[in-house]
C-alpha cells in the first residue's frame, strides 16, 4: 500500500563536505536507500518516511547546530548520524536536552551511555579486544610485542588505554608495548614505519594495532609497502580500514594485512548478497563497496522501524523504551539484539586484505559479543554498566555500590 498522511521525518546528520565527507557520504546514501525501500514497503505506521538531509560539513559545532535544527525545526523522529566521536560528543547534549533519538553507526571508544543514543557500531570489546585476542592466538601468529599506533584523538587514545591494560593482563611486558600518536591527516610515515620495523626486530613476533584515522591510512600503508614490511613479517591490525578505504588503495602490497570488523562485504550470506545487490542498483554503481558502518545503519534503521511499529507511535520516549530487546538479523549471520545499555550484540570478524580490495575472513568469534558501554579494563569504569530499563534506568550504574553515578543521561 502506498503510505499516506503526514510524513515521518528521519534526520540524516552526516558530513557531505569537509574532511569527513570521504567516509560519511556513503552513510547518507545508504540511509536514503533504506528509507526509499521502507517507503516502497508501505512506509511506517502507514505513513511515508521523509529523509531530512543536512550537511554538518565536518565541523563539530555545526553538528550540534544541525542536530538542534533536525530535532526542533524538522521534528525528526529519529536521527541517523555522526562518524567521529567528537561529533557525537558535540550533539549528545542536544539530543538529551531535546529528548531526541540518535543512531550512531561507527565503532567507538565506549565509556558513554546516553538514553538518547543507540550505539550500533562496535564498542571496544566488540572489536579491539577480540582483534588482540586473535593476534595473541596461535592462528594469528602468536604476537608477543605490540605497537599501538593511532591518530591523536579520543577514540585511539581510549582504545589504546584499554588495550594496554588488557595486554598487560595477558602477560605482555611494558617494554613490549609501544604507543605512538600522529596528527590527523599525517602523510609522511617514513620515520614511524621505520620505528615499527626496528621495534619488530626485538626478536619477538610483533604485531601492529592501528587506530589510524581514515585518510592517514593510505600513505601509511603505502609506506609499509615501500619499506618492505609485509603482513607475514609484521601484521597490521586496523580498526578503521574498511572496504571503502581499500577502494582508494592499491592493495597488492597489503595482502594479508588485517582488519577487525563486525561486517565484511565479502561474507557470503543471502542477506548480504541481497543487500549488496540493492546497494549497487540504488547507487547505479556496480562496483561501489559496502562496509561495516553501513550495516550498522541497516540494523539500526530496521530496529527503529520495528520499535516504532511495536510502540505504534514515533513518540521518542515510547520508542526509546521499545528499542531495548528488539532483535534484527545481521547481514552476516546471527541476530543483533538491542541491549539495555543501548549497544548491540555483534559477531566479530578478522579479515585479511586481498589483492582485489576485499577482506577474506580468517577468524571470527565463536559467539555474538554483547557490547559493553563501559570498559572493564579501565579502573574507573570497571564496575559500571548501563541499563535503561526500569528500575535502574541509568547509563552509569555502579554494580558494586548499587547506585547511579549521576542521573546525567536520564
Amino acid at each position: 500500500a502506498t503510505p499516506k498522511g503526514e510524513p515521518i521525518k528521519v534526520g540524516i546528520l552526516h558530513s557531505l563536505s569537509g574532511t569527513m565527507a570521504i567516509s560519511e557520504t556513503t552513510l547518507k546514501d545508504v540511509m536514503l536507500m533504506l528509507i526509499a525501500e521502507q517507503n516502497s514497503k508501505g512506509g511506517l505506521l502507514g505513513r511515508p518516511l521523509e529523509a531530512v538531509v543536512v550537511d554538518p560539513a565536518s565541523n563539530w559545532p555545526l553538528f550540534a547546530e544541525k542536530a538542534r535544527q533536525l530535532l526542533s525545526v524538522d521534528k525528526a523522529s529519529a536521527v541517523f548520524g555522526c562518524w567521529t566521536s567528537v561529533s557525537r560528543k558535540s550533539v549528545l547534549p542536544v539530543f538529551e536536552e531535546l529528548n531526541g533519538i540518535l543512531f550512531y553507526p561507527v565503532q567507538y571508544e565506549g565509556q558513554e551511555c546516553s538514553r538518547n543514543i543507540f550505539y550500533t557500531g562496535a564498542a571496544p570489546n566488540q572489536q579491539a579486544i577480540p582483534a588482540v585476542d586473535y593476534l595473541l592466538s596461535e592462528a594469528g601468529g602468536g604476537a608477543k610485542r605490540f605497537a599501538l599506533v593511532g591518530t591523536d584523538y579520543i577514540y585511539p587514545r581510549t582504545t589504546n588505554q584499554i588495550l594496554v591494560n588488557y595486554l598487560k593482563s595477558k602477560g605482555i611486558a611494558d617494554e613490549d608495548i609501544m604507543v605512538n600518536y600522529t596528527p590527523f591527516g599525517q602523510s609522511d610515515w617514513q620515520t614511524i614505519v621505520s620505528q615499527l620495523k626496528a621495534f619488530g626486530s626485538g626478536g619477538k613476533k610483533t604485531a601492529v594495532v592501528s587506530t589510524i584515522n581514515g585518510d592517514a591510512n593510505v600513505p601509511f600503508y603505502k609506506e609499509l609497502g615501500n619499506q618492505g614490511i609485509s603482513a607475514t613479517d609484521i601484521p597490521v591490525m586496523a580498526f578503521s580500514v574498511g572496504e571503502e578505504e581499500l577502494a582508494g588503495m592499491d592493495t597488492k602490497p597489503l595482502v594479508g594485512q588485517l582488519a577487525a570488523w563486525n561486517y565484511f562485504e565479502s561474507i557470503e550470506t543471502p542477506a548480504n548478497t541481497a543487500f549488496i545487490k540493492e546497494w549497487h542498483a540504488y547507487t547505479k554503481q556496480p562496483k561501489r563497496t559496502t562496509n561495516d558502518p553501513m550495516e550498522a545503519h541497516y540494523i539500526g534503521f530496521n530496529m527503529w522501524v520495528q520499535a516504532v511499529t511495536k510502540a505504534g507511535t514515533t513518540d521518542h520516549d515510547k520508542v526509546i523504551d521499545a528499542m531495548i530487546g528488539i532483535r534484527q538479523p545481521n547481514l552476516t549471520g546471527g541476530i543483533a539484539e538491542m541491549l539495555p545499555d543501548h549497544h548491540l550484540t555483534k559477531p566479530v570478524f578478522i579479515g585479511e586484505i586481498q589483492d582485489d580490495g576485499q577482506f577474506s575472513v580468517v577468524w571470527k568469534t565463536p559467539a555474538l559479543v554483547p557490547g559493553q558501554a563501559w570498559s572493564p579494563w579501565v579502573a574507573q569504569t570497571k564496575d559500571l554498566i548501563g541499563d535503561w530499563r526500569k528500575p535502574i534506568a541509568c547509563g552509569n550504574y555502579n554494580t558494586v555500590t548499587k547506585t547511579c553515578l549521576s542521573r546525567k543521561h536520564a
Partner: protein, 379 residues
C-alpha cells in the same frame, strides 16, 4: 582599493546605527522567544541559538576588521584568540557541571576521570569561580597577543610574513589542544555544559538573556572600535598601514600603535569566543583550524573591509547563508558559498557596504584593467 581611508573616519555614523540595530535585534528576538509557543511572534530556541552564534561570530569579524581593515595586518590566525576565550569560558562551564558528570566526580571534569587523571592541573585552578574565569577570558588571549605582537611588530614582521606566523600560531594551538595530555579534553574538547552562574543553560530564559548579553557585547565592541579608529588614532593607523616607515620619521612608534589595536582586537575576539561557547555548547580544537581564521577574514571582505558595520554584516550574512544552504542544498551548498565569495570580489570590490557607501577610488572601468593597478608592495 576599497579599504578604509582616513577621510571616511568622519562618516562613521553607520557604526552607531549598526550597534543600535544589533542590540535591538537581540532584544526583540530574546523577548519573542519567551512568548508562548502558539503566539505568532514566537521565535524558536533554535533561532535564538543561531542568532547568538551569528553575533558571536560578528565579534570575531569585528576584531579581524579592526586589525586588517584599519591596521593593515592580515591576520590568518585570529580564531586563536576566539578559541582561547572560548576555552576559558568552557573551563568554567565544565567546572559548573560539578558532580553531575558521567563519573560523578565533583572536582574533575569527565574527560580527566576518563583519562585516569588524579588531580586538576594547575591551570584549571580557580576556574570554578566565574570572575576568575572571565579574567582568564580576557587576560590569556591578551597576553598571548601581547607577547606575540610585541615581538613581531618590534622586529617589523609585516605583510604575508605576519599573516603566515599568525596562521602558524593558531595551527600550533590546534595541534596542542588536540593532544589529550594537554588537559583540555583533546579532540573532543569541552562540552555537555549544564548551567552558567546557576542558571540552566537549556532554559529559554537563560538563552534569551545570553542573546541580549551577546548583542550588548557586540554593540559595545562596535562603539569601542569606532572610538579607537575614529579621529586621529584612526588616521595614524591608516598611516601605519600604508607607510609604516614614514610614521617612524615623524616620531611615531608603529609597533606600539599596532600592538594597541592588536591586543584590543584579541580581547574582542576572545569575548566573542566566550559568548560563542556558552551558546553553541561545545569548544574543541577545531576552532583553532586555520580555515576558521581565513573564513573570518572572508566575512569581513564580504561585508566590506575597513567598515566596522560591514564586518558585522558580512559575518551575519555569510553564516546565515551557510545555515540555509547546508540545510536546503546539503550537497551543493559549497558551490553557492564559493560563488558568493568569487562574485563578491568581482562585482562588489568594496563588499556589501560598498553598495551604499560611495566608492572613493576611481571606478575601475575608467582605466584599462591591465595598466591601471597601482603596484602593491612588491614582496
Amino acid at each position: 582599493m576599497n579599504a578604509f581611508s582616513g577621510q571616511s573616519v568622519r562618516s562613521f555614523k553607520s557604526v552607531v546605527w549598526t550597534a543600535g540595530l544589533v542590540l535591538g535585534l537581540a532584544v526583540v528576538l530574546a523577548v519573542a522567544s519567551l512568548l508562548p509557543e502558539n503566539s505568532p511572534f514566537h521565535v524558536s530556541a533554535f533561532a535564538v541559538s543561531l542568532a547568538g552564534k551569528y553575533l558571536a561570530y560578528a565579534m570575531l569579524a569585528l576584531s579581524v576588521d579592526l586589525v586588517w581593515g584599519f591596521a593593515g595586518i592580515l591576520t590568518l590566525g585570529h580564531a586563536a584568540f576566539f578559541g582561547l576565550g572560548g576555552y576559558a569560558m568552557g573551563m568554567y562551564l565544565m567546572r559548573e557541571i560539578g558532580a553531575r558528570g558521567a563519573y560523578g566526580d565533583a572536582s574533575l571534569p569527565d574527560f580527566m576521570v576518563f583519562l585516569s587523571w588524579k588531580r586538576l592541573p594547575w591551570y584549571w585552578w580557580g576556574t570554578d569561580h566565574f570572575a576568575w574565569a572571565m579574567l582568564l577570558v580576557l587576560v590569556v588571549p591578551a597576553l598571548l597577543a601581547g607577547i606575540f605582537g610585541w615581538l613581531a611588530f618590534r622586529s617589523r614582521v609585516s605583510g604575508v610574513y605576519l599573516s603566515i606566523i599568525t596562521q602558524a600560531l593558531t595551527y600550533a594551538l590546534m595541534l596542542a589542544f588536540f593532544q589529550n595530555g594537554f588537559g583540555f579534553g583533546g579532540n573532543n574538547g569541552l562540552t555537555d555544559f549544564k548551567d552558567i552562574l546557576g542558571a540552566d543553560l537549556h532554559r529559554p530564559a537563560t538563552r534569551a538573556v545570553l542573546l541580549v548579553v551577546t548583542g550588548g557585547a557586540l554593540a559595545a565592541g562596535l562603539l569601542a572600535s569606532r572610538f579607537i579608529v575614529g579621529s586621529r588614532f584612526g588616521n595614524l593607523l591608516v598611516a601605519v598601514r600604508d607607510s609604516e616607515n614614514r610614521t617612524r620619521f615623524l616620531g611615531y612608534r608603529p609597533d606600539q600603535v599596532k600592538l594597541l589595536v592588536w591586543v584590543f582586537s584579541a580581547m574582542l575576539a576572545a569575548i566573542g569566543g566566550a559568548l560563542y561557547v556558552i551558546q553553541v555548547g561545545i569548544i574543541n580544537p577545531g576552532e583553532f583550524a586555520p580555515a576558521n581564521s581565513i573564513e573570518a577574514v572572508i566575512w569581513v571582505a564580504v561585508g566590506g573591509r575597513g567598515t566596522l558595520s560591514g564586518a558585522v554584516l558580512g559575518a551575519i550574512l555569510v553564516n546565515f547563508g551557510k545555515t540555509l544552504f547546508t540545510a536546503w542544498l546539503p550537497e551543493f551548498w559549497l558551490y553557492g558559498l564559493g560563488l558568493l565569495f568569487i562574485g563578491t570580489t568581482l562585482f562588489l570590490p568594496s563588499g556589501l557596504m560598498g553598495l551604499w557607501r560611495p566608492v572613493r577610488a576611481a571606478p575601475p572601468e575608467e582605466i584599462t584593467p591591465e595598466v591601471s593597478a597601482p603596484e602593491g608592495e612588491h614582496s
